[in-house]
């Protein structure tokens, strides 16, 4: 609680020193901007260069602890000094802010951006609450399989295009004494659950997010059994190894790592070269008969604080942010994909992933973390963490998550 009080006080002081003006030319305005992505400061500096003269400038304040950041933003809404612009999370957490009327509506900006081809309608679903849109996408992340090209070459392997081929690749690696896959028991403990279930039965995966499907229903149980079998077959690295996944992929201690496209930046930081040292591919669907390959998509919002000092200018910035110019600058600075299909993505591997993920052959699905109500996710992450660690009978874990889901949907159906 004391932290929260201090955080509020800090925000009040920061905001006091900044000063705000409600009107005037948005391009002349400096917005107070808060984010939990402290490490991305240089990219936001680049965006200030890109927006110079055409859109507002950002006064950057970065947090490196996401939990502390979330508490700080929430507390700031209890003061009179709300952030003009801040990054947040989609799903349940954005719904909470929308419910309280704390973020400005952006429906007009979305309508225009969709009409201009800056963004897909599919993505808008992540930002829609009761027919209206709130916030704009700061970034988009596709969850794909990264692999070490040298390891693939040494073991005579090709990029798999079906689930059966993927299993063959893993079996060959195990037989040759190479650990095929990376896995973690914290933070990203849920990703293999989402990958397998979405690829096995996308409707069941979707149904979990609105309570229409139970965690003890047959498709979910089957997905867990597949995961259980993969763990038993020695496909995954021991979750007790705490070495960074990019280092493990670089050294060949794991041949593949299932991660969001932000992982490209982490590999590049190790001087690994896309297409030479590592490659990426969309994970084939477990059920080969699916008409489209499910691709997990994660998107983080850039939100305007309702009734903040510079609300209008912040909305103007949000509008500019979605344009092709802004997104090309962002993609270049971050070395990452963009939600804007028109934006130039310089990394050829990422450009190819973007093309595949946005094609009609792919079905974009929300990441499990954002698709699941927070109260259920909390229990699920603990259960998946324990399952990854112990590889025990999945039934008990699924029942524990379903108990949490029952309790949640009883209050929120």
């Amino acid at each position: 609680m004391a932290t929260a009080v201090l955080a509020s006080a800090a925000l009040a002081l920061t905001a006091c020193s900044g000063g705000g003006d409600g009107g005037g030319d948005p391009a002349e305005t400096t917005l107070s901007f808060f984010t939990d992505k402290a490490a991305w400061e240089s990219s936001f500096d680049d965006m200030n260069d890109a927006s110079d003269g055409v859109a507002p400038q950002l006064d950057f304040t970065g947090y490196s602890d996401p939990t502390a950041y979330d508490a700080f933003i929430k507390q700031s809404f209890r003061t009179n000094e709300r952030p003009d612009l801040f990054t947040w999370h989609t799903g349940d957490q954005l719904a909470e802010l929308v419910d309280q009327g704390l973020v400005a509506e952006t429906t007009d900006i979305w309508d225009e951006a969709i009409a201009d081809g800056y963004v897909t309608e599919e993505l808008a679903e992540n930002y829609t609450y009761e027919g209206a849109q709130y916030c704009v996408p700061m970034n988009v992340v596709y969850w794909v399989m990264y692999y070490n090209t040298q390891v693939f070459e040494d073991n005579g392997l090709d990029v798999p295009t079906t689930w059966e081929e993927f299993i063959d690749v893993a079996d060959t690696l195990v037989a040759n004494g190479v650990t095929p896959l990376h896995q973690m028991n914290i933070i990203f403990e849920f990703v293999w659950f989402q990958a397998i279930l979405a690829g096995l039965d996308p409707d069941a995966y979707d149904g979990l997010s609105d309570g229409s499907v139970s965690y003890t229903d047959p498709p979910v149980v089957e997905a867990m059994e597949i995961w259980h079998q993969m763990q038993s077959d020695g496909y995954f690295i021991d979750p007790g190894v705490e070495t960074d996944p990019q280092v493990l992929l670089q050294s060949g201690d794991v041949a593949m790592a299932y991660f969001g496209t932000f992982f490209t930046g982490q590999l590049n930081d190790l001087d690994m070269v896309s297409g030479e040292d590592y490659g990426s591919f969309l994970l084939p669907a477990v059920d080969g008969d699916l008409p489209q390959t499910p691709v997990i998509v994660e998107t983080g919002p850039l939100c305007v604080g309702a009734d903040s000092d510079n609300e209008e200018a912040a909305l103007a910035y949000s509008q500019w942010w979605m344009t092709t110019d802004a997104q090309s600058a962002w993609s270049e600075s971050r070395g990452d994909v963009s939600f804007n299909p028109e934006a130039t993505v310089t990394d050829e591997g990422l450009a190819e992933i973007t093309t595949q993920a946005t094609s009609d052959d792919s079905l974009q699905m929300r990441r499990y973390l954002e698709a699941t109500p927070n109260e259920i996710y909390t229990v699920a992450s603990e259960e998946f963490g324990a399952f990854v660690t112990n590889n025990d009978d999945p039934t008990g874990h699924l029942q524990a998550i379903q108990d949490a889901a029952d309790a949640y949907w009883a209050d929120n159906s």
Binding site: M1, A2, V5, T67, A68, D70, A71, K74, Q75, F77, Q93, E96, L97, D99, Q100, L102, N185, I186, D238, P239, G240, V241, E242, N374, E375, T378, E382, E383, G385, A386, V388, T389, N390
Partner: protein, 306 residues
């Protein structure tokens, strides 16, 4: 006050006692301190107590739900694991950092250049709990330094999953915390040993006491006031254990190594259940205060009886 004046004051009806002429100005001196304590200590406590009776996600207005958070807290198996682990921490902290601290202090007492013997134990105290956690994670992770060393020396235990299996992970984290905490306890006990008067010890020696008998019958009882402080601090500190665990396992895998302080933090800031988090905070506060009062009252009563 002379006797007749005091008697007159007693005879006067209440409210008619002669006022301290500095009464008004004394308020001015006391007020800033009282206000500070009220704002930074009492108000947050009252606010937390109120929040524990509500459902609140940090936004909007808290909704009163009575004692629901407390019933949910005691019904949660994860909370009971957390309570068990916290108890491990209390016992472990008293046995290891305090016990080792005492051992180091006693062994080095009277030694020439004792400071040099004690100094290495004190160095880890200078680093933060989080840094201790990071260092020991490196040692204890699967295939980490400890496993590699055991394997190299052909000793058993190389296959143990030090940080993955409970309650082994809690035991290992207590050891990591002991590495950091033993030195400062040795320092405190060292000061205690130096302050013991030499005469009774010499007299006991003349009477034939030496070694462990001398320690048990003379040194230990005379060290009691300091032991009370060291153990009291250890109890309070261990009940609040957070940083080492957060850095090493984040309470996992699952919730197997959580402590009460971690449960409080996770429920509040990770799960956004401020009501339940406040209930855990209140529970933690009550047991910390109760443990301190019970322990100190007993110890101080003992020392008065001596």
């Amino acid at each position: 006050m002379s006797a007749p004046t005091a008697r007159r004051a007693e005879l006067l009806p209440r409210g008619n006692k002669p006022k301290n002429p500095y009464w008004t100005s004394s308020i001015g001196f006391v007020a800033p301190g009282v206000l500070l304590v009220a704002v930074v200590l009492y108000l947050p406590f009252i606010w937390t107590s109120w929040i524990s009776l509500t459902e609140y996600n940090g936004l909007g207005d808290p909704e009163f739900v009575g004692i629901d958070n407390f019933t949910a807290m005691f019904a949660d198996p994860g909370f009971l694991v957390s309570l068990r682990n916290t108890l491990f921490w209390v016992i472990g902290t008293i046995l290891l950092p305090v016990g080792l601290g005492l051992l180091i202090a006693v062994l080095s007492h009277g030694m020439p250049n004792a400071t040099w013997f004690r100094l290495p134990f004190l160095i880890p105290y200078a680093i933060s709990g989080v840094a201790v956690g990071v260092i020991w994670s490196f040692v204890l992770q699967t295939n980490g330094a400890l496993s590699q060393a055991l394997s190299f020396l052909h000793l058993p235990g190389a296959d143990l999953r030090w940080l993955l299996d409970g309650p082994l992970n809690t035991v290992m984290m207590i050891l990591a915390a002991s590495w950091q905490g033993a030195g400062v306890n040795a320092l405190l006990f060292g000061i205690g040993l130096q302050s013991i008067p030499k005469e009774p010890i010499e007299a006991a020696r003349v009477d034939g006491a030496s070694g462990f008998t001398l320690f048990r019958t003379m040194t230990w009882p005379m060290l009691a006031p300091l032991t009370t402080v060291v153990v009291g601090l250890a109890i309070v500190g261990s009940l609040k254990t957070f940083d080492v665990v957060w850095a090493m396992t984040q309470g996992g895998p699952g919730r197997v190594s959580e402590t009460l302080a971690l449960t409080m933090y996770k429920e509040t800031f990770v799960n956004n259940d401020y009501g339940l988090g406040a209930a855990v905070a209140l529970f933690l506060t009550v047991i910390t205060v109760l443990a301190s009062i019970l322990y100190l009252r007993r110890q101080l009563a003992d020392s008065r009886a001596m």
